[in-house]
Symmetry: none
Subunit: 165 residues, 2 copies
DNA sequence: GATGTCGTCATCCTTTCGGGTGATTTCGCG
DNA sequence: CGCGAAATCACCCGAAAGGATGACGACATC
């Protein structure tokens, strides 16, 4: 789960789930009588309930993530267009869309840019008037979001993703 | 496990959820016996089972789709990667002249390229079938020639000087 | 007013880097 | 042949970077 868990969409889905879940349970309890009447074993009945609900959960999970992917793909389309229209002479327009989907804040990108400039954490700290620890925290978070283990890797990823010139 | 799981908070939430889930299961298993023994209604028992498995189903569904989403994301990234690198029509002609004037050997440039790729010394060593020490000496010499103190700086300089794409 | 995000800073601990120094082997060239 | 450049590797040591975790204030959102 992630950024989008904070979105209203997600919350709404959870609510829907609660509602539908309750509904299903009610239905189950209703249908249960029929099973009991037909004298099925409790184990079998429980297994059916289990399977049904597991399937339901998977379905719901799919639903939720599908809406997420829709959003993401829309973003991607735009991203492809940007570099395609502004080829060479651009003063470099950072890919804000991707930055957003990755959850990278402005400050983090700022630090990443300085990292790409070959500065050490201490130099960055001095330049931004913050402590070296702060820079390290920002770096750690950024590396996490870029799935990078080293600063060189983060820089490389940043360029790949159009976050850096 | 998940690109988007950057927030420690989220990690904690997932952990808590897992823990509570386990606790619920244990409780359920415990109470189950009591219900059965005390001959409680099958309805109540079934409801509990239903809830339990609904939760499990949701969890499972989310887990499955999450990993799938991760894969999807990776693919998308690749898709964007290609057009991002393609517009540069030139296959990149390294500035051999400058390399020569700086006294940078072919091997050193090779290592520098891998450094720019975000690899660690160990990874480079593995990839080139040499020891890590060797990579380090190559790096040191290269940094020296590029007047760089850090690898990020060396990479930046290398790009400036047209040694790297 | 509770919740979440962001930026800030800290501490502890491990890994990685970088500098310094020296050694060996291979290869080409005068 | 001897010389030097290049590549290889080793060891030590200090500095830098990275991971994990916790905390706190400001601010926005609900």
């Amino acid at each position: 789960m992630d950024i989008l868990l904070h979105n209203t969409i997600m919350k709404r889905h959870v609510l829907i789930f609660g509602f539908v879940g309750g509904l299903l349970i009610a239905t189950l309890q209703y249908t249960e009588y029929r099973f009991v009447i037909i004298e099925h074993s409790v184990e079998l009945y429980s297994a059916l309930v289990a399977i049904l609900f597991a399937a339901f959960g998977i379905w719901l999970g799919l639903r939720i993530t599908r809406s997420r992917e829709t959003i993401r793909e829309t973003v991607v389309v735009r991203e492809v267009l940007v570099p395609a229209q502004a080829p060479a002479l651009e003063p470099f327009a950072p890919n804000t869309a991707r930055q957003h989907t990755l959850g990278i804040t402005a400050r983090e990108l700022e630090i990443l840019t300085l990292v790409a400039g070959g500065l050490s954490n201490r130099e960055i700290a001095t330049q931004l008037f913050v402590s070296e620890n702060t820079v390290k925290t920002h770096c750690a978070r950024t590396f996490d979001k870029l799935v990078a283990a080293r600063r060189t890797q983060a820089v490389q990823r940043g360029k790949e993703l159009g976050l850096l010139p």
